[in-house]
Each structure stands twice: as C-alpha cells, then as structure tokens.
C-alpha cells in the first residue's frame, strides 16, 4: 500500500455501509429478457437520433442511436434481434416521464457486429474521441457524462494527475468493488488509454479502505501490466469520498471549484467502470451495451449482475428475489438514489444499483421540526457550505441570497439531511430552490426574447413610418419644385377652393362606389371584404 500523503475534505458522514451482503458471490450474468427497452437518451447532452425502424434486424453492438452533436453519446443494441418498435416508454427517472426508446425482441443468437480493435495510439486524438463517442462510452459512476469530452487535456495546464475513482462510497453499492476484484486488468488497460489521451503524468487509483480485496486486485493488475506511474491508494472510508471533487482533493490536495473544468486545475477523474468501458471500446472495439449492477436492499440474495441495457428492472430484481414487504425501487444508493416510477423501467447506463426498499429498511423519518441552527449540517457538508442558511433562504424563496450562499456548489450528497436532528429534508429544499431558479432563468430568457422581438417590431414600424413620411415629404417637395418650375402649365395651383372641389369629386366617386356595392350586395348577401 502506498504511503502517499493524503489530504482531507471537510465534513462527510459514516452511514452503515451494507456492502458485504452483495460481495459474497461473483458477478452473475443476467439472462436476456423477453424484450429490451433501450432509451435513446442515456447520457448528459443531446438525445441520439434513432437509426433503426420497427421490423429491422439488428446485431449485438449495432448502433441504434447516433450521437446528436458533440455533447452526446451513441446508443447500441444490447443483443441481436428484431426491432419491435421505436416508441415512447417510461424512463427510469422519478418524474415518471416517457422518452423515445428502441424496443428489441432478442433472437437469442447474441450475434455480434464485427468488432475491431482501434489503433488508439497511432490515430489522431480527435478521431479517437469521436470513436469513443460513437461507441457510447459515458461516465458509469452515475453522472453519465460523455467520456470523450473528458478525454481532452486543458490548453492552459498540463494534466498532472489522472484520478481513477474506485472509492464507491454510497452504502449498498458494490458494482465497482466487484469489477475491480474480477476485472482489474481491463480497468488498468482503460486507465492507460485515458492517460495517453490526457498525457497525464501520474495515475492515482483511489479506493475506500473498506475494500481491501479490490485494492489488492488493482495493485496486482498494475504490477502484472508493468506500467509505471500508477499508484493504487486506499483512502479513508467516509461518505462522500467517491464524489469526484472530494476524491481529487483527498488524493492530490487540489480543490476544483464549482463550474470549473478539472483539467484546468491539472487533474481529471474517471470512474473505474468507465475506464473498463474505454478499454473494451478501444482495445476490443466493443461499444457500451451492458454494465454491472448491484441488486441489494430488501432482497433475499443481494448480488452484482452484468446486465444488458434495456433489461426491465423487475427481471434483475427477480434474480435476487425481492422480499414480500418491499415497497419501492431505488436507482442508486440510499444517500443519492431516486425512486423509480415502476418496476418495468429499464436498466440504463446510469444504473449502478437497484436498491429495493421496505418500510423497515428505510423507515419514514420522524416529523420535521424547526431548524435550531445547531450547525450539524455545516459540520457534515463536504462542500463547506452553510446548509441551514441555504435552507432558510430556499424555504423563504429568497433565491438570490441562496445563490450568494453558493447554492449551486451543493452536490446534493445528502449528508446534511442525514445528520439533521430536526429531520429536515434539506436536500429537497435545495432541489426545489435550484429548479425554481432554473425555471425563473428560463422564464427570464423567454421574456427577454419576447421583449427583444417586441422592441424590434416597434423599431421596424417606426422606421417604416419614418420612411413613409420621408417618401411623402420627398414627393411633396418634388411636386412643389415642379410647380415652382412650371407655375402656369400642368395642374392648377392648389388652393382652398380647389381642394374643396377635389374633395367633392372624391366624395361623389365614393358614393357611387358604395351605391354599386350595395346593389351587388343585395344579390350576394354578406359578401364583405
């Protein structure tokens, strides 16, 4: 084990980890479900465009959704079979909203596309990044940020450290742990590719010290591969040590501020699972079509499974056997996870854990009491915020102040809610405040746009009027000069009497027109212009 000097982040909590239950058995393989529902939008950024139609045959690994722009990642068929339909299906999101999904009926052949290793060392980096995007690699730690965007160093700062995040600090989740134990070689190989892309000096693999098997496996893999400049480091177990910013801080002492690119601070962070996917994508040419998912909580046989994307969660839960008193399905861990709208929603790239809940496992919290400003939340906050101040301002909808107190630096880790003696669901208040601010900003942008349109219209109308007036004035002036040049000829000099005559003539003409109209109107009733 390395004797590297480690740094600390403030705050954090130590909930019961519940990790041993799901690490007793090796990673299992989830069987193919009767149908796979593959959402096109599985990463941050643009929704991929569907490339397939109902009735079409696809091969395993065939691209079915092309990346929409650069901030996006492609989506692939998790198995071979027939495209049943491309339609709206419910997403694995607490909103219960639907989105466009490709539904595949597997043929059971598991017939792969032809996969060829990519010569990532010799290809230009931009090309490699495009390949990573088109092979659908995204961050598997939970944020599903397209990986190719992170595989580029800063133009200002050389990348000193590549942090490989195997901390896995959330209770119950063990997918990274098991992958490190069983597939450490692939993770190291992936880390080497990323290091090459970033030209990073050092690779630091951070693993919480409650996973000694994973630390040992990773160290063995590093020694076996013979690579240098890679350190596997056990970090103290304290939630949220696996937050990218917290782990970077612990390993390097660098604090990456909110909104900043970590490469500008000389460091980049990838999850172990993502590193493995990068290896599969570039060394084997295989797109990201499955991931390791922990099934834990209120189940008989908690375990990790390799699950093809699109598999309904209920099929994965069935492998572990939900206990009868189960009352909810959570995607993610108990600190940051989301309740699923149903058990039919598919496993996606973001699904690191399917946590089955029950009233006894996650009992309802005691009634919410007023904040007594005890400061437990500030002590627990890993972002060094004053959560109770944010709570006051969010609750009273003083959003400007909430932003002044760095609301958007909140990573929603849940530590403050966890420790609050008044049982205040603090994170809910921040989520509310953030969404309100976003909504107001969107509203403001919309009203700004509307005002700009209106002002432009006014400006245009005014300009047109001015132009009209100018034209009229020019015409009058022209007529005047013409008359001045030729006072006797042409039209008589306009005077009041003449004007009256002109008017009279106009009125007579108008009356005649009206009369004619009336006559025709009598035959064609209601024929108005």
């Amino acid at each position: 084990m390395s004797l590297r000097h480690l740094f600390k982040f403030n705050g954090g909590v130590k909930p019961v980890t519940h990790k041993s239950e799901s690490t007793r058995n090796p990673i299992g393989k989830a069987p193919l479900s009767a149908e796979l529902v593959i959402p096109l939008h599985q990463s941050i950024g643009g929704t991929p465009r569907p490339l397939v139609q109902a009735g079409q045959q696809v091969l395993k690994g065939q691209i079915i959704g092309a990346a929409d722009g650069n901030v996006s990642a492609a989506v692939h068929a998790s198995t071979s079979g027939r495209i049943k339909t491309v339609e709206m299906r419910r997403m694995p999101h607490s909103s219960g909203l639907s989105a466009l999904c490709v539904v595949i009926e597997p043929d059971g052949e598991e017939a792969w596309i032809e996969a060829r290793p990519i010569a990532w060392k010799s290809l230009p980096p931009d090309e490699v990044r495009d390949i990573v995007r088109d092979l659908g690699v995204v961050g598997l730690g939970g944020a599903v940020f397209p990986s190719h965007l992170k595989m580029k160093g800063s133009s200002k700062t050389p990348t000193r450290y590549l942090v490989i995040n195997g901390a896995e600090c959330e209770p119950f989740i063990t997918c990274d742990d098991m992958q490190m134990r069983e597939r450490a070689d692939g993770i190291v190989a992936g880390a080497m590719i990323i290091r090459h892309m970033l030209q990073a000096e050092q690779v630091l693999v951070g693993i919480e010290d409650n996973k000694p098997e994973a630390v040992a496996a990773m160290q063995a893999a590093v020694s076996k591969s013979g690579v240098t400049g890679v350190e596997v480091i056990a970090v103290p177990t304290r939630y949220p040590a696996g937050g990218a910013k917290q782990l970077i801080r612990v390993l390097t002492g660098i604090e990456v501020p909110h909104g900043a690119r970590s490469t500008d601070h000389g460091v980049q962070c990838f999850n172990t699972g993502t590193a493995f996917s990068v290896h599969e994508a570039l060394d084997l040419g295989r797109p990201l079509i499955s991931r390791i998912v922990t099934v834990a909580g209120n189940v008989e046989r908690p375990r990790n499974f390799e699950v093809p994307f699109g598999t309904p969660m209920r099929d994965v839960i069935a492998l572990a056997g939900a206990k009868p008193d189960s009352d909810r399905i959570i995607m993610g861990g108990p600190m940051m996870g989301f309740v699923m709208p149903g058990d039919e929603v598919p496993v996606v790239k973001a699904t690191n854990c399917i946590l089955v809940g029950s009233p006894s496992l996650f009992p309802p919290p005691p009634p919410e009491m007023p904040c007594i400003r005890c400061g437990e939340c500030s002590k627990a906050c890993p972002a060094d915020l004053q959560p109770f101040e944010l709570y006051w301002y969010s609750k009273s909808k003083i959003f400007g102040k909430a932003q002044e107190y760095h609301l958007f630096d909140c990573i929603e880790c849940g530590c403050c809610s966890y420790v609050c003696p008044s049982s205040i669901p603090l994170v809910d208040y921040y989520r509310f405040a953030k969404s309100e601010i976003w909504a107001r900003e969107a509203e403001k942008a919309a009203s700004d746009a509307a005002r700009e349109r209106y002002e432009f219209r006014q400006l245009r109308e005014q300009r047109e009027e001015e132009e009209k007036a100018a034209r009229l004035a020019a015409k009058m002036a022209a007529r005047k000069t013409a008359e001045a040049e030729n006072p006797d000829g042409g039209r008589p000099k306009p005077d009041m009497g003449d004007l009256d005559d002109e008017k009279k003539a106009l009125i007579a003409a108008a009356m005649e027109r009206a009369k004619a109209q009336k006559e025709s109107g009598a035959t064609t009733e209601g024929n108005k212009e």
Partner: protein, 332 residues
Amino acid sequence: MVNNSPFVVKASSVRSVMLRVLLALMPGVAAYVWFFGAAILVQLALASVTALAVEAFMLSLRKKPVMLFVTDGSALVTAWLIALSFPPIGPWWLVVIATLFAIALVKHLYGGLGQNPFNPAMGAFALMIVAFPQLMSQWSAPGITDLAVQLKLIFGLRELDAVTMATPLDALRTALHTGATSAAAAGQLPGAGLIAGKGWEWVSAGYLLGGLWLMQQRIISWHIPLAFLAALGAMAGIFQLVDASRFAGPLFHLFGGGAMLGAFFITTDPVSAATTPRGKLIYAALIGALTWVIRTFGAFPDGVAFSVLLLNICVPLIDMYTQPPVFGHKKK
C-alpha cells in the same frame, strides 16, 4: 414512504440534544444542592411546570402540534437556565413570571423553537433584574440549607434579610465603588471560598464538568466556551496586572457568578448564537469581555445576561462577515 433521498438518517433528534443538555447540568445542580440546600430544586420545579404549561398554551394558540413540541425539551432547558441563574430563595413568583415571559414573549412571539433572536432565559433575567433589582440580588449564604426555612422564604412566609448575603461578585463591585481593595473584599467576606466564593466555585466546577461532557458528545463545539472564558479571563488578568488591589483575578471571575453556566450552557444556545466557526469566536469573546466590563463597572451583580443579549443582536452581522470559504473557493 420517503420519495427523495437520502433514505437513511442518523439517529438524532432535537429531543435527544435537549435532554443531554439537561443531563449536563446535573453536576452543577448537585453541587448547588450540596452547598445551598434543596431550595434550588423547588425553583427548578416551579420553572419547569410554568415552562411546560406556557409552552403548551402558546403552541395551541399558534395551532402547532402540542405534544411534539412540548416534549422536545427546549422549554425545560430554558426553565432550568432561568432557575439556575436566579437567587434560590427568591419568592416563587420571580421565576414563574420570568419563565412565562421567556417562553411566551421571547420565544413564541418571535416564532417559537429556532426562531428567537434572543436567548429566552437571558431575556427573562434582564427583565427581572431591571424590574426587581432588590429581590434579584438576595442570595442565600452557604450553610443555611434548612429546607423548611428556604420554603418559607420562597413562598413569602418569612423576610429575606436575616439569611441572605451578597454574592462574591456583588461584594467585589461594592468594594470597588467604595474604594476598598479587592483582596480585602474578596478575602474577608464571610462567604469567601478558595478562589471565588464558598460553594459557588464548586457549582461552577460542576457546570464545567457538564460542559466538557457536552463537548465530548459533540453537542457544543469548543469555540464558544473557550473564547468566552479566554476573553473574560484575559480582561481580568490584564486589569489585575494593572492594579491588583482594585481588580480581582481571572480565577475569581471564571469561577464566580454565572461564568461557567454562561460559557457552556447560555452562550452556546445554538438558536441565538453565531453559527460560523470564526463568528462563534468573535461572538463569545465579545460576550466575555463585556461581561467583565459590566461586572466591574456596571450596576448589576452579573454581566452575562446583558452581554449575551447585546451580542444576540449582533449575530446576523457577525455571521454575514464570517462565512467560511466554500470548497474550491478558498484563497491559496
């Protein structure tokens, strides 16, 4: 069913916090009873009953869940702090009115638990010492611990004068005002103890013990008690160096009067105190310094209450200017 994360919480509650504060007061109360008799228990009971009754009444007026809040223990903490800072043989209605004022006006009129800008117990103390300076200054001399006598005093069946005396702090200030030396004043009082008045020093030691336990329990942080005691001690030390014949030393100030109760139980009231680490230091140090000034030159026997109230007003300002740097925004 909870629909939003986190789905797990640490087992802690306002009630457990408040109950541990009450528990931490026990050593001090025990010393109090030992040296000054059981009268203080009567006062504690009077204050507790009044506090719970007024709390329940105010909660029902405000249409809040009565049982949930009455049992949170916060009213009891206020009641106990009032009883412990009042003279033990004062008439019964002194603590009753004080507690009523503290709970109904200082706490609930500002919005109840968590909302009061002022420490309720100190608000009540300030009211009563201004309204009844005479009664608030009658402290029993150690040794007169006969409960029958004490009960007669509390319930107005006997005149006070015969059995009371000034507290050491009071005696000292009187001496300062009359030009006598502090050594003479402190040392020659009938109630003089080892360092700060017979009996009182042990009560203070009891509060210190309870306070340290609260720190160990992580209910209070070290910032406020340390800054308060250091500032009070430093002021006393500096002025003792200037003129030892006129000014009492640090130990006398730290173990006399309400210093220890103030340091660990009153200034640390989270609702009305500063909340940031630096803010807590500033807040408590100013209370400590001000306490010394009021004790030495003011018109009242102790200065903790007024200092706390004055600094309570400053809390929003102190907090605003002492916000700790946020992750990633620290200056290098």
